[in-house]
């Protein structure tokens, strides 16, 4: 019926055969559909997790591609800067593959509220870039400028500093001179980067440059790719570009290999999930195919006796299973897809789900929030449907071959 009149007869017969036992077929469809739903849900969480990991790892600090003066990463010396950085930033922002650029200054310094000095890292950032979503200062509402700085919350607690306090920052200018000035604490920041919370004083790039007697230079350009997955090729292309000539350009996977391993691990986990669907679909299809061929032995005998080619019987049984699998997979996709879409929009709070667990998790110096927003890509669906189809064919191969080898005379007697 659904299949329409123009389908080959074998298909129509197969489809009709499926519904000769509506209850068994419905059960099989439910089993396949449910497993596909679960797989898609899990795939969705995995994909969110992988994207989220990359986002959380690259967003605030690393970026997708980084550029430094060649010696800077090793020595972290103040004077290892890239000069003419604003021209490079402008050129990069015009690049169609680049989604954003943050020029940064990092300077070790001493900060003090009273007499007691604390070792800090002064970080100068491009405020417009750093306050964008999933960046270091995402959603920051406090205006800076006029010697107002942000202080990492843990550092602030250690120093006994509250918003409004006046702190001294003392360091070394890039020319070796003494850099010192007073700043007002505009706000305390909780970022996803432990190091920042523990050690950093963040201020606008221009003020950081002024404090440390720097010109148009930066220690690091953090480049965000429009497509994070293409960070590697982007880094390779930028490495040869004129605006980054003589500069070390790395994609984040090279700059932070440990972080990358973590992401890779998550991204191969779908393989295990897919195994799950194989088992569930195989069980559902194999059961249905076996039962329905066994109970139709007499009928197959008849068909063979009437001159039906055994290959046609094989085809019919395979098509029955295939139709069963695909229908189940489509139902599961519809249901699972809807579930993922809903979860994506609503956001699943892991803490509520587990009854008051942690709302965030800290690992590898990065804090991960626990609100899940699962998402799917076309490949996830294609993969699961193909898996069901392959399973269906494999699971019905034996019943189909058995039916084809029947001796018509003996089969007719059953």
């Amino acid at each position: 019926m659904i299949m329409g009149a123009r389908l080959p007869t074998t298909w129509r017969i197969a489809w009709r055969n499926l519904w000769r036992n509506p209850r068994r077929t419905s059960l099989a469809l439910a089993a396949i559909g449910l497993s596909v739903t679960l797989v898609l849900l899990y795939d969705g969480i995995l994909r969110w997790e992988a994207d989220y990991l990359v986002d959380t790892i690259t967003g605030p600090m690393l970026g997708h591609v980084q550029a430094h003066a060649p010696e800077w990463r090793r020595t972290r010396a103040m004077d290892k800067t890239m000069t003419g950085s604003s021209r490079a930033v402008e050129a990069l922002r015009r690049d169609p593959d680049v989604g954003g650029v943050d020029a940064r200054v990092y300077a070790p310094a001493l900060a003090a509220l009273g007499e007691e000095g604390f070792a800090v890292m002064v970080v100068g950032v491009d405020m417009a870039e750093a306050t964008r979503p999933s960046r270091l200062l995402q959603g920051l509402k406090v205006p800076l400028g006029g010697r107002r700085v942000l202080v990492g919350r843990l550092l602030a607690e250690q120093m006994g500093v509250k918003p409004g306090a006046e702190i001294a920052i003392v360091g070394q200018g890039i020319d070796g001179s003494l850099a010192n000035d007073l700043f007002t604490v505009a706000a305390l920041i909780d970022t996803s980067v432990d190091l920042v919370n523990r050690q950093a004083i963040v201020l606008p790039l221009a003020e950081a440059r002024e404090l440390f007697a720097m010109g148009d230079e930066a220690h690091e350009l953090v480049i965000y790719a429009r497509d994070p997955a293409r960070a590697g090729p982007l880094a390779a292309r930028l490495r040869g570009s004129s605006e980054l000539a003589g500069v070390e350009v790395l994609d984040w996977k090279t700059a932070a290999p440990g972080m990358n391993d973590l992401v890779e691990l998550v991204s191969v986990m779908w393989v295990f999930v897919l195994l799950l669907v194989f088992v569930a679909a195989a069980a559902g299809v194999a059961n249905t195919a076996l039962m329905s061929t066994f109970e139709r032995t007499h009928e197959f005998g008849m068909l063979l006796a009437l001159g039906t080619a055994p290959s046609r019987i094989v085809a019919m049984i395979l098509i029955e299973s295939l139709a069963l699998g695909v229908t189940g997979a489509l139902l599961g996709t519809a249901f699972g897809g809807a579930l993922v879409a809903w979860a994506y929009h609503a956001g699943v709070d892991f803490a509520k789900l587990t009854g008051g667990g942690p709302t965030s998790l800290s690992a590898w110096g990065v804090t991960f929030t626990m609100i899940m927003r699962p998402r799917l890509a076309a490949i996830d669906i294609v993969r699961v449907v193909l898996a069901v189809m392959v399973t269906a064919i494999l699971a019905s191969a034996w019943p189909a071959l058995r039916a084809a080898r029947l001796q018509p005379a003996r089969a007719l007697r059953e």
Binding site: A77, L110, G117, G173, L178, D181
Partner: protein, 259 residues
């Protein structure tokens, strides 16, 4: 209160330098007879600072990017107390460092603040030079933390290489320090080896003159081995030893008064 000897540079050197030989007693025997290590080290230790000192010195920091010159005045008393005030350039004039024991404070006139240097910043640069804050405070512990011996004879210049090895269990930046003293028991060169046994920096001593009644190398050059083009030179301009230094010199209130 003490005798009045100016060693401005001495203060710094005292602070900065590990061990510099005292010339008095041990220098009588210039023959290739190995000197007494303890005596040589004690003399080196005392060379630029004596019981007290007031010094005026010039520091030149050369880096691949720039050259910077500072003039300082320094007061020292005993092994533990030192006050260093920057007199020039004008931009940094009045900036001062006070050391009392293992504590270090910086006074910054521009923002009128005194800040104590935390232990975590001890390995940071002192005033943009190649000396670290640690160099300012560590030196009094040298004889405690290192075991010393005469290592070998040196021919050019004639003298002796002393070798200091860090004692087991001591936490510190250097594993070994080699010191070359000439036959007048004046320092010629110091080599600092880090914990991995790599040569990290070299300090040379030259321009021997009479300052404050002592013959001593007036020009010291510190060269970090792993930073090409980088060095800090220190030249003593005036030096007085065992001068009376007012009691309150090594106090925070004095630090903030500058000079």
């Amino acid at each position: 209160m003490v005798t009045r000897q100016p060693v401005c540079a001495a203060a710094l050197a005292a602070v900065l330098i590990v061990a510099i030989s005292p010339g008095s007693a041990a220098r009588l025997s210039p023959q290739p007879q190995p000197p007494d290590v303890a005596a040589v080290l004690a003399r080196l230790d005392d060379l630029y600072r004596s019981k007290s000192s007031i010094a005026r010195m010039e520091i030149v920091v050369t880096s691949p990017r720039s050259t910077r010159t500072m003039r300082l005045k320094a007061w020292t008393r005993g092994e533990d107390d030192a006050l260093i005030v920057i007199e020039a350039p004008p931009r940094e004039a009045g900036t001062s460092t006070l050391r009392v024991g293992s504590n270090l404070w910086n006074f910054l006139p521009r923002i009128a603040r005194t800040i104590r240097v935390p232990p975590s910043m001890m390995l940071g640069s002192w005033m943009g030079t190649d000396f670290t804050n640690d160099d300012l405070v560590k030196e009094s512990s040298m004889h405690r933390d290192f075991s010393s011996r005469i290592d070998r004879r040196s021919d050019a210049p004639p003298g002796w290489w002393l070798r200091l090895d860090v004692k087991p269990g001591v936490v510190g930046r250097w594993a070994r320090i080699d010191i070359l003293v000439d036959d007048a028991n004046l320092p010629v060169e110091e080599r600092h080896f880090d914990r991995k046994g790599r040569l990290a920096r070299v300090m040379t001593f030259d321009e021997t003159r009479t300052l404050g009644g002592r013959r001593l190398p007036a020009h010291l050059t510190l060269t970090p081995v792993d930073q090409p083009g980088q060095r800090t030179e220190m030249r003593y301009l005036e030096l007085q030893f065992d001068v009376a230094i007012p009691n309150d010199t090594f106090s925070l209130s004095r630090l903030e008064r500058g000079q």
